[in-house]
Symmetry: C2
Subunit: 420 residues, 2 copies
Amino acid sequence: MSKPNLFYAQSGGVTAVINASACGVIETARQHRDQIGKVYAGLNGIVGALNEELIDTSRESAKTIAALRHTPAGAFGSCRYKLKSFEENAREYERLLAVFKAHNIRYFLYNGGGDSQDTANKIAQLSLKQGFPVTCIGVPKTVDNDLPITDNCPGFGSVAKYIGVSIREAGLDVASMCDSSTKVFVMEVMGRHAGWIAGAAGLASEQEGDAPHIILFPEIAFDKARFLKKVQACVKQFGYCAIVVSEGAQNPDGSFLADAGSKDAFGHVQLGGVAPFVAGMIKSELGYKYHWAVADYLQRAARHIASRTDVDQAYAVGKAAVEFALAGKNAVMPTIVRGGGSRYTWKIGEARLSDVANVEKKMPRSYISKDGFHITDAARRYFAPLIQGEDYPPYKHGLPQYARLKKVLAKKQLPKWQAS
Amino acid sequence: MSKPNLFYAQSGGVTAVINASACGVIETARQHRDQIGKVYAGLNGIVGALNEELIDTSRESAKTIAALRHTPAGAFGSCRYKLKSFEENAREYERLLAVFKAHNIRYFLYNGGGDSQDTANKIAQLSLKQGFPVTCIGVPKTVDNDLPITDNCPGFGSVAKYIGVSIREAGLDVASMCDSSTKVFVMEVMGRHAGWIAGAAGLASEQEGDAPHIILFPEIAFDKARFLKKVQACVKQFGYCAIVVSEGAQNPDGSFLADAGSKDAFGHVQLGGVAPFVAGMIKSELGYKYHWAVADYLQRAARHIASRTDVDQAYAVGKAAVEFALAGKNAVMPTIVRGGGSRYTWKIGEARLSDVANVEKKMPRSYISKDGFHITDAARRYFAPLIQGEDYPPYKHGLPQYARLKKVLAKKQLPKWQAS
């Protein structure tokens, strides 16, 4: 047990490229067998460490690990589980460190958003205090693109591309039929707190009249009268109106648009139902025939149309995280740094976890047009490079072939964990 | 005006590949300039003929016409407009023939479903009676796959592929998170009258435990108790349950499942809302956290992930329609004929429009598993070849580049049409 092992975990909502980061971590670790023993991956994220359910990735073939690069979602399982503060639940931290000790884990790579970077930071500090120092490196991931310091977050570019492609295609569909049929199309996209994803949809509109005609952002309080007027003007001018609405679109009082809206047949307020709400409002007030779509998980799992830039960056942050760890860095996260020239370039940078943890990057107001319904040229310049390039997965029998892992667990060394 | 002209129109709901048929028509006609003068396309379908709005496709470059092969939706515009019977509205038929005469149109190619083939058939007969014979050839198209005689309908294979890819990807997403989060995912797909599209989703499930676990077909009366039991069993066995529901799923009394369901905030019954309805039912009865998606137009416009087989066949029926016309055939439609061997082969066949018109091909019961929740091996053998192959459109700036037509109209010769 001389060589230290590495523990990698996926956290929070998954993306089309988080496994590309896993691939970067594992392939890079395998290139440094002299310094890193095994790479363990948490079964269902950090919960796997608490339960001592450690997937032994050495049991997966090089081919399977390579296939992670083109496999969406969280191949080892992810979780929505945030460790409480040390004061509130010291037992959890002690358990984590006990599991790390039992398996000689000296590197912890946590692949997630702001919460996860906070956790990784705490574990770095605590492990030092307890005399079993664990090198903790964050690996950025979130479709929401809301991490600070990094220019963008792996996961975002692929959602952005999917949304851009989808609204362009659906827009053409509506345009074909609007003379005698559907005149309004509403597509709902993710982004509870910020309009990054909704904004990226604006790239699909390259010439006057192109879809989307209207984008509803969480950042702009919904103004019903102005919105309906704009819809009507679009239908008059272009024959139809294609709308992208963020699930986080808000009323002037800060409540979600959808919350005031539809209930299902069982009386529950519908989650993710802002598209039918907006479509129904238009029908009710303007009488236009409508259709709506809610892409939901389809958008963040859409590896089939991932952005090559995003895949490359996701792999690169995974690789960099291992290299940081081996270089003796600690409590840091690789970032994406955009070059300054007119041609898009990027390189890997570095941020301290303490600067990343629990800070949410909002979309600048300068990215939203003055009338609040579309994006500006500044936004286009920011978004455009992130969706560049295609990176198609291999197909068999007409369907994409994604990695299937064996997920062999390491032998348990400790008593069973009892969550409090 | 010696050479006769050809009129082509797109009809009904559009598809990812109907423009590939248009491409086949126009490119083939251009190869026979000695026999065919101009190819006119109806602006917004048959309505364009009534309004004498004839797009002169000779004004579009060879490059633009070639780009139709990879462009989704109806590039010339389509419509939901069914001609009444001759007895009910003789004026419409007389107007059509007057427009055809005024523009020396002797070939009419109608690209649509069963209704359109009926119309084409009527015009063939009527034109003959009136001493201005117009050769009428149908070009099959429908995502619903419900035309008789032909083995399958161009448009269907690409929707099927999109749905298969999407449920596979979203299924992996849910599988990643189900330990601590969403346990049930419901995806709604098109198919008001038959479960062809829903059935094709079953291809994504290749091994036990793969999504989708349950498919709800219009053909099988919904049995709430059995359904909920199956959902629960899936969650217990696999940790989650991925469901594909056809928009046409029905209660035992024949009413649509969604009709009994949710209303929007304005009191309207929601169109296309069967996914939230089913998801809400599961939450209410079993308590599972859920997500749902409604792909709507995204699925039938998804040219970015079209089936190559489908694209090839769509082009081939367009080409064959022109060749049929030049061979002196009339009131017929090219069909897809499947070869008998174990390796999939297909060729172009021929059906009389009178045999195609207004006949709806249902999915055989033998394609649905005994318990009614999945597809059989017979269904797999039928569906699998139709989604084979990828046929990616070109990309620029990270987004697919679709044809933009000039749509120059031919000079009008007749007084304005007054719809009655």
